[in-house]
């Protein structure tokens, strides 16, 4: 970045605080634990009191550790003259960039208050003509398989013939997988917790593009390794010894953008797993330099299949963009065994705000577009469609399945289960919860076993809720929900969205 030719004497405009921790001094025992735990140094000891030092990000660590329960974090009321068009954020952004000249960076998912289309969808339930099922007494199947389907079954003497050249399917106990979060964007303990939970839940977790730490090969049968544009950490066992391999083309939080792990996060451990020099920026280029067309993608898929001797499914992940249906069709034709569509509310460890908040397609619409296009072209029954990016609850998961996804991909929800408060500071590497950081004193705060247990409990609960809803709909297997848009109704403000998603409006009956 070159400095402007006109250089005035530097005059930084200090921005008002966004959050301020308030301490109830009647209750405070001055144990200073909050000061020690605050990795953003937003609290200090002055005189005889703990006071705010500025820079609070509302990560909530101080509240969680305060033995006297005497801290609350207050959002600072508007400090700018009210204006209907020039929001506080727009003015803060301008002031910040006028001082720095930099590209605004943020993390987690897009945080502008775009309404979620999920919230405009209502589920159907069975009444009289199709009786509902009690999932506590009757089996409701949630097992899901990841990979390419043969398209048709061959039956001989009453037995299903498994053809030798079929790529095996990966069995998962629920239609949910953990997204790709690399070691580097999150800590060793956080990634370990995800892998432990995936193993316990019998689902699949993504490795992210950061290689796989030697300690984590014990979970390899539940790991989907990622081949992205940086090609970090790829070695034969990273391809052959895992459950599945996924080529990452794009990420919902930053469609079309690469990845930059800043040099300060490239510690000795990260440099060893990624196999790159310590302290240098780890750049994942924007495109794969061997992929400029669907035909080129087909080559990378083929070489990965050759390398793994056709023993595991090879998938492709793309960010949900406006032409997602046609692209998905190309992915299937290129040989992808499963494809993942990542919506624009998906999370990230670091992304330019302008892309995170403004580029991409809501996952709800993307799922429906992909499902429709693949169905029209007779390809839908051949592949597994995974979708993620903004799945916040079991209800979102159920609606995503009904819109046409076989599997949902979640990451942020799993991290919230571990302790994440979505304060959107992952890119600073100071995560006070020990998740999105590489600082030893911070990562030590996260006990992987405790975190894994919490993740397992959360998704077991989601799976029970899925069964409850399936039962209420009178459906006894989750596969019968996939793409079953007749069990959804739209109640939002824009019927065009319902039309695009091929979902009926509320009030419209069956048939």
């Amino acid at each position: 970045m070159s400095d402007p030719k006109i250089t005035a004497k530097r005059s930084d405009h200090r921005l008002p605080e966004r959050f301020v921790p308030r301490i109830d001094y009647d209750l405070c025992r001055v144990c200073k634990r909050c000061i020690n735990e605050c990795s953003y140094q937003a609290l200090e000891f002055k005189g005889s009191k703990v006071v705010s030092a500025g820079g609070c990000v509302a990560c909530g660590r101080c509240i969680a550790v305060c033995p006297a329960n005497c801290i609350e974090i207050r959002p600072v009321p508007p400090q700018f003259a009210p204006h209907g068009n020039w929001s506080e954020r727009s003015r803060r952004s301008i002031l910040a960039q006028a001082s720095s000249g930099g590209v605004l960076l943020s993390s987690c998912g897009a945080d502008d208050p775009h309404p979620a289309i999920f919230d405009d969808l209502l589920l159907d339930a069975a009444q009289v003509t199709n009786p509902s099922i009690d999932p506590l007494r009757e089996p409701v199947e949630t097992v899901t398989y990841l990979g390419r389907r043969p398209g048709k079954l061959e039956v001989c003497d009453g037995k299903v013939i498994i053809r030798e050249d079929d790529t095996p399917l990966i069995r998962m106990d629920m239609p949910l997988m953990f997204g790709h979060i690399s070691l580097g964007s999150i800590s060793y303990n956080a990634q370990k917790a995800l892998f432990m939970a995936a193993k316990e839940l019998n689902i699949v977790a993504g490795s992210g593009e950061g290689g796989l730490h030697p300690d984590f090969y014990q979970y390899a049968d539940r790991i989907c390794s990622e081949v992205a544009s940086g090609r970090f950490g790829i070695k034969p066992e990273y391809l052959k010894g895992v459950a599945a391999v996924e080529i990452k083309i794009g990420q919902g939080a930053k469609p079309g953008h690469g990845g930059h792990l800043p040099g300060e996060k490239v510690t000795t451990m990260i440099s060893e797993t990624r196999m790159i020099p310590r302290g240098t920026d780890a750049l994942s280029p924007y495109p794969h330099h061997d992929i400029y067309s669907i035909e080129d993608l087909a080559q990378l898929i083929s070489v990965l299949k050759e390398s793994t001797e056709y023993r595991l499914p090879v998938g492709v992940k793309i960010a949900a963009v406006h032409n997602v249906g046609a692209i998905a069709s190309g992915l299937v034709r290129a040989g992808a065994d499963f494809l993942t569509v990542d919506g624009f509310k998906g999370g990230t460890g670091a992304a330019p705000r302008v892309i995170r908040d403004h580029a991409g397609l809501p996952v709800e619409v993307a799922i429906a577009a992909v499902d429709r296009r693949l169905t029209q072209e007779g390809l839908r029954n051949r592949v597994t469609v995974c979708a993620g990016g903004g799945i916040r609850s079991s209800a979102d998961m159920i609606k995503a399945l009904a819109l046409g996804a076989d599997v949902v991909m979640v990451s942020t929800a799993a991290m919230i289960a571990m302790g994440c408060r979505v304060c959107q500071q992952c890119h600073r590497g100071l995560c006070s919860w020990g998740i999105a950081t590489q600082r030893d004193d911070l990562t030590d705060r996260l006990d992987p076993e405790v975190a894994a247990t919490r993740i397992v409990r959360l998704f077991q609960a989601w799976n029970e809720e899925l069964k409850e809803v399936l039962g209420a709909m009178g459906i006894d297997a989750v596969e019968s929900l996939v793409g079953n848009r007749d069990r959804l109704r739209y109640r939002g403000p824009n019927p065009k969205i319902a039309e695009v998603m091929n979902v009926k409006h509320i009030g419209e009956g069956w048939g």
């Binding site: 970045m1 605004l104 960076l105 391809l239 060893e272 790159i276 240098t280 750049l283 023993r311």
Partner: protein
């Protein structure tokens, strides 16, 4: 063309290679010139090669290769030598992990894609994206190479990938380079043997070019820097290897070499604004 063979697991016995492979003394010869097996699909050929590797062959000789892709991808047998007669297809030696591949002819695109270790010697030209994201091992090309060669090569610890090109390289040589060494010897070429945008976005590694490189040919992030004593030691080693491999004289006047190195190992420091807006 024979049906595509996609073997599942080592226990599965297919008849790939029955007609064309002969094995004796740990040496396999796969003859694709026989009219009854040609043209052979790449899946079949790769299956035959994997069989030879499973038999523990230390040498595999391929004859009559006609553009079959993905040969020897992820091959890991230590000490294995693979001779390729004919023209291998794209992605030769992708994810290669130890063996040596010698091509008596031209190679196509993406030779040595994401290679880990090993050696690929091409007695002809190798085209676009040769050595993409290589992390170790060496690639020697006697002739010319195409566009985007040596992109995103990287190094770690003692493993440093090297790529030596006897002839020329086109645009975007060493783009995004994060480590490793590229040498372009420009033999039989009077002027600059490299194209434009050399080292665009590079943040590690080094490129040595014999001949002229004007600053206009450099991509953003790359600079021309003086050649050091250790560079000359490394170049001497690479040139010795090149000479030995191809049995041809190599130019050794180090004054003719230009060194291109990254301007910074942290190209994005200061680029972003982390203010909590």
């Amino acid at each position: 063309m024979k049906p595509v063979c996609k073997p599942k697991g080592h226990t599965y016995e297919c008849d790939c290679g029955k007609e064309c492979m002969t094995v004796s003394d740990g040496k396999a010869v796969i003859d694709l010139e026989r009219s009854d097996v040609r043209p052979m699909h790449y899946t079949t050929l790769n299956c035959v090669m994997r069989k030879a590797m499973r038999l523990g062959c230390s040498r595999i000789e391929l004859r009559g290769v006609m553009g079959q892709r993905y040969l020897a991808s992820t091959a890991s047998a230590p000490g294995l030598y693979i001779a390729v007669h004919g023209t291998p297809g794209n992605d030769l030696g992708a994810f290669l992990n130890g063996p040596t591949i010698e091509v008596f002819g031209n190679a196509q695109d993406m030779t040595g894609n994401t290679m880990n270790s090993g050696r690929i010697v091409v007695h002809g030209n190798a085209w676009d994206v040769t050595g993409l994201a290589a992390r170790g091992g060496s690639i020697l090309v006697k002739g010319d190479t195409g566009y985007r060669v040596g992109i995103h090569m990287k190094e770690f610890g003692d493993t440093r990938p090297t790529l030596v090109v006897g002839g020329t390289a086109k645009d975007y040589l060493g783009e995004y380079m994060a480590g490793g060494t590229i040498m372009v010897l420009g033999m039989d070429n009077g002027r600059s043997p490299v194209g434009r945008n050399v080292g665009a976005g590079m943040h590690g590694g080094r490129i040595f070019v014999r001949g002229e490189v004007s600053p206009e040919q450099l991509g953003p992030g790359a600079s021309i820097v003086p050649v050091s004593e250790t560079d000359i030691e490394e170049m001497t080693r690479l040139l010795d290897d090149f000479q030995r491999s191809f049995q041809i004289p190599v130019p050794r006047d180090f004054g003719e070499f230009v060194k291109i190195a990254p301007s910074s190992s942290r190209p994005f420091s200061g680029y972003y604004d982390k203010t909590n807006v």
